[in-house]
Amino acid sequence: MKNMSVLLLGFLLSVVSYAETLYVHSSKAVLLTDRDFSSGTVALLQKGDAVTVLQRQTRWVEVEFNAQQGWVSVLLLKATPPSGIVSVIGSDDVNLEGDARMRASAVATAGATRGLVEEGGAQSMGFDFSELHQLETMVVTDQELDMFSQPVLGGGQ
């Protein structure tokens, strides 16, 4: 009988530990009271937040976060924590993590040192890497994004 109780306790613990965890992959994600964008806001999740799955439906996942329950779009969650930005710009493939200002500076430096023609002279074979480099220098900083978002989130018409 005692052995049976231990087995049952172990089984219950395994059920509890089964709880699925997902991670927020967008910069922000609204936790809603229902599966509906017009429903109320429970909380604002941030990139990297870990949420516990309560139930999953086609387009929505019901989750628990900091003892609060609500619904998030399935598109914003993944099973692994979000990674930093991957970049291949520069002489070698580079992994750039951190804030956008650092990335902007690194990209600009890479562009400046690389020159305007991609290695291998691909420009003469129907490619225009010089214009590609031009657009790749236009990286937006986190501060610029914050300023840009203000009239949007203020509901400006």
């Binding site: 059920v15 089964y18 997902l22 999953r56 993944k78 930093g84 129907g126 214009e131 509901g155 018409q157």
Partner: protein
Amino acid sequence: MSDTWRIFFLVVMSMLTFQCASVPLEEDFRARWSQTLLTDNESANTEAEIKFGREVAARMLADIDGVENFEIQKYVNTLGNYLAQYSARPDLQFYFWVIESDAINAYAMPGGYIFITSAAYRLLENEAELAGVLAHEIAHVKQKHIVHALDIKAVGAGATLTQLTSGASDAFRVAMNQASEQAVALLKKDGLHQEDEYEADEIGLTIMVQAGYEPDAYLRFLQRVAMVSARQLEEVTQTHPSFASRLTALEAVKRDYGMNNLNYAQLPERFNQFKLE
């Protein structure tokens, strides 16, 4: 049956019920969404995806130049990057570029390279409409539609995208060249699978709403585009489902997600500061 066994049985049954509840309830198109959640942790392929996207973008730019207006390019790039924050692709740096073309269209290349034509830009009336177009393209990148459509393995005779972009041999370089050529053909002539376009419309709409833009603006833009001369629409009608069917599908998306009457931002004044003459 003893009480202990009875409890044990109940626990097992409740666990099975819990497991079943986490299985997606709907099939086909719905399954694609669950795959997004379950199998999208392929960060190892991101570098290859970006390298391939750069090749395709550089090939596109060999034929079409960017609009020479720094303020407009900066504005579009900022809006695009703002929207991309809601794409759940934090591994990508997105780039947005307005290109000179009479065709009304926008293009999404792998790795986060997105172009919108000057003709499409001129047809826009507010920032929310532009957000809708860019969000649709971001959705193509998020779902890796071009990479899937090209079936890189077939193109490279068994090669993966990572091998193709490595340039490890002449054969891979040739295959890579062919793949980027085929990608441009997909973008400008052949089009993606119709279901990819509907999916991009749906995901794009959720991206723009999460970012705070009025979803109806995108539908209004598509209605306006549908009225434009056939010559300017040749490319987009060749590569996309009909506007009527897309609008019907979008209305269903709005209803299913509770997106009606949100009264979100449209920002015509800010957009008018960056009009293209």
